[in-house]
Subunit: 343 residues, 4 copies
């Protein structure tokens, strides 16, 4: 029993997923691929020695008889279309972020999934699968620091080639948006964005860093520094402050060296090294649960919440004020999925 | 050559200073004391075996011929009066915080000192004398993390017996107000106060924790968590984020123990243990510089700035908005004093 | 293309390997099993839903046509027999430690493998596959601490139920014997064993802790504390001291908690949690290389060296003296295998 | 009431002590000095603005009426003579290490002091006054790691200009000899010295590093790496392993910096920075107790034990064997002094 997967989009992340499913994970194989650059799709099939057919386009992959489940790793603006088509075909679909480029697009997917009647969509928020975040959640859920009151975060990257406009919020911070509400079993009610003195080491015209302040329904206050040209390394920090103590996200473990009057450990540079294991766990758990007819990762609803929250952050940045985050109640349809949040 | 000191107020902190000057420090002796509770003043003189006269009141101490310099450790509301009297008498005065209970009071002292023409007043902000803050300042001033963009702080105490109203801002946070502008060689332009979900472990009706956001002239953004009922210990955190790196205030060093499935170090409980060495350094440096006719610790101007900033924080808490901090230019009179900031 | 594996011995570690090959790893399946307790073998086949035949005994498994490769996880004293039979059958064999219960037994296997002419045997020393040891080796091989001069190790377990006699040396310390010569690309020339004051918390009559001193050909001195009733947790420490610096084996990463006046992280209790990932990597790499007709893990020669060294340690413990470790030159046959040591 | 001190020897350490007594400590003043280089003595008196007479030689200092107590910081080979003269004069004497250059010399001092009938001699083993060793001792004495079974130490210096022969043992390791028996409330029964592969970065012909193994009366085993050309910094490590846990000597606290892909803290380079505070505490406590007619620091007996143990280490290095350390029982005379060991 093997899950037969069709992949739409064979760019960098698509190739990564193809490789891990083929060479590292168990229980699935790639049987169909496509890409806007068809040549590249053929190259990948050959190089990875896949027993897979190259299709004309995403819709053909989705409709192919041999395809049990779909992975969408194409260009962001096409995600919505392929996810909707997968739902229409009744096939489970794993979609890399963003679920759609607008909150409205996400909402359409949510509506379509509910209308279909069975959960099919998982969004690629891999931090929930990161060992260190899971360790932190376990500690917090066990009450080892009491009820959470505040969370202090930092999201730092050495540089951000190609970043422009609000991408620090819409591309980087979205990971915190997803993982923190999962971590806290909570939702957001307002956002504020503070613009510190700008680093001179970012691309011209790019604001960097940002500080985002989020408030949750329970009144928990989250401050996150997003600094995507921090120079020194890729560094994700998270400290939960509860009524009786604090808990810090574990740092990646590393050799401690004493040399040249310094006691030091390495800081990672590449975000892929930080979360590489998370991708493996994420896809393996998706394969396993899909085989069992279940769906318990980040849902279409989660993707929608992230989109609405990110929109509020962008607006807060523009206005300098505190922007309320208004969201409909979570449909009962999604309650049963939320294995992590319930657990 | 010994500095002869008169002490006004022999309560807890007054007794501490008397003991350290008499038994630990060098170059000074206590020759005069007073207290509203005169009985207590006599007891202290006897117990510490001082060669000191007990006076009727603070003014008598200040005017006593044998007194070279004055330490004011009486009840806060009396500070302004005794500092002004010391200036009038032309005697150096070390005043525990607050310099005065209002910004106006502080301003009067500033004006009197300038009118007198010679700096005489030092305010007891001891964190500038703390070894760990000095280590941090040295690193930041040396440019090891690049130009500062943000500072993340936490000021936590296990409990705050007797705290009420805005004391978290006016009694606890004032230390950050002073030490951070010294650390950054900068001044504040606005304040905002955020009220997280309240701990249930504080006295009824007391808001705890607070998050205070300060903006400096250079655009540096400071966020400080003040949590005075955090239960777990007395814990002062400060991280400076610069253009190329971050620097953390050193933690007090402690034995690392492996026992019962934990690797652990002790966290202090009592703030006095955290800053006890700072008080020694502070007073010894005050004695030494006073003997040389200098004054280079926290000045009356610094005390005034703290008062104005604390007032803005209190207003920001009440209004929920961003409150501008407006301050006259620093009088040239104080420029030459600022050994630390210049250094 | 899948590697078809026969497993001899379905006790605890045998079941672990069956589970990981079936549910976590890729590229192999269990097709044959046996155990002295045949009932148990049937239970495992059923519970894990294996498509595997239960054979009468190990020899039948080895000779079964459908079996490409053999895993030996039976009772220690039977290892030698089944490994020799696998070599006779020309089938790759992964044997849990010990390779044989005597150095002579290991030597017989080495001789048989050389006579066969093709490397077939891998011994289950999983620490070489541990991420933290690999990080440490990378640092040392890169010369980041200069040429190694000394290594300080500790091997601690909370308790050692069932340990008696010299098992601290022959069961626990053997892991250090293997991994340290791999880490240092070196071999041992002498051993000394020191018996510290005994803990009162071990089983009656059991010496605990031991300190073993090893000297390598290059003159590197290794001291290892082996303390199998240390109470506080399972804790593996290793520090390499080189000419210009030191490098420490990374600790397992864990949430840092501030609570009840302690800053703490968890220490593991169970050795399986410490090395669980190593087993996965070890078996996956064995499957992958076996599929390619290669063999590059710990070899029969490595198993033999460990046996000779452990014998020297036992003798050193008995005599209290410094015991030379004499070993024939490594046969050229094994030179080409030593991917790790060469790398 | 001020302790009037005569200093014999105004070299580096003599000047340090003069400075700290004059400018940092309280309760004492330097009233007499001498040095083989009399010119230097005059220079020091003038530079430090001392109200002190320069004497012809050490004996004149000792006998001077105005001298209450003596500090011996002259060339090592002269210590014995001046300490004996101080005892003869009935004056308290603080002698830098070594107490005498031979165990016999130390024994003569012990005998003279006992004959005099009142403890007068303190030896300058400053580690007992180091805050971090005191923290460690407090933890061990409180039983937080159970009864000690082993101690792992490292004594590393970046380089050792002028070191030759056995100075690593007689000059560096003597500090561990003293502080570890104080830490453990125990005495030594045997020594062994291991010579690891030599660093190429030491002076030609100098063995470096050494590993010294000591056994105590209680059977505690101590291993100490002494590596005086370790390049990377001055680094003192000590881990006590007890029946239920381990405790590590605290590291000097330092700013944690994230920069250039490293998380790092500074390691000290100069041993004086490591123990500067200890010297202050040591001398202040000596002044205070001398004023009270007490003596509770490292005694002449302690100096003698260190000399005997260091001799055994030198012999163990020569012979390669395990050398017993035989010592007479501690005279009852010294029992009452041993405030620290008893405490």
């Amino acid at each position: 029993m093997v899950l037969k997967i069709g992949v739409i989009g064979t760019g960098a992340i698509g190739q990564d997923h193809i490789r891990r499913i083929t060479h590292s994970l168990t229980g699935a194989e790639i049987v169909a691929v496509t890409d806007v650059n068809k040549e590249q799709a053929y190259t990948v099939v050959e190089r990875e020695n896949l027993n897979a057919k190259v299709y004309e386009n995403g819709h053909d992959v989705i409709e192919a008889d041999e395809v049990d489940a779909v992975i969408v790793t194409s260009w962001g603006p096409t995600h919505e279309e392929f996810v909707l088509a997968s739902i229409a075909a009744g096939k489970p679909v794993f979609c890399e972020k963003p679920l759609a480029t607008t909150a409205e697009g996400c909402k359409k997917i949510v509506d379509a999934e509910i209308a279909h009647g069975k959960p099919l969509v998982q969004v690629g928020f891999m931090r929930r699968y990161d060992k260190s975040y899971r360790q932190l959640k376990k500690v917090v859920d066990a009450g080892k620091v009491g009820d959470p009151l505040m969370v202090h975060c930092a999201h730092r990257a050495p540089s951000a080639p190609g970043f422009s406009g609000d991408m620090a919020l819409t591309d980087a911070f979205v990971h915190e948006i997803d993982v923190l509400r999962w971590l806290l079993n909570d939702d957001y009610v307002s956002a504020q964005v503070i613009l510190p003195r700008n680093t001179r080491l970012a691309d011209k015209g790019l604001q960097d860093p940002h500080i985002v302040l989020l408030e949750t329904k329970q009144g928990i206050r989250i401050d996150t520094e997003i600094f995507v040209n921090c120079q020194y390394g890729y560094d994700i920090q998270c400290q939960v402050v509860g009524e009786t103590g604090t808990a810090n996200l574990p740092e990646p473990s590393s050799v401690t060296i004493r040399s040249e009057t310094k006691l030091s450990t390495d800081i990672l540079v590449d975000w892929k090294d930080r979360f590489i294991d998370s991708y493996d766990v994420e896809l393996q758990e998706w394969i396993n649960s899909t085989m069992k007819g279940e769906m318990n990762g980040p849902s279409a609803w989660d993707g929608y919440v992230v989109a609405v929250t990110a929109d509020a952050c962008v607006k807060a940045k523009e206005t300098g004020g505190i922007v309320p985050i208004e969201m409909p109640e979570r449909p009962a349809f999604y309650d049963k999925l939320d294995a992590f949040i319930k657990a």
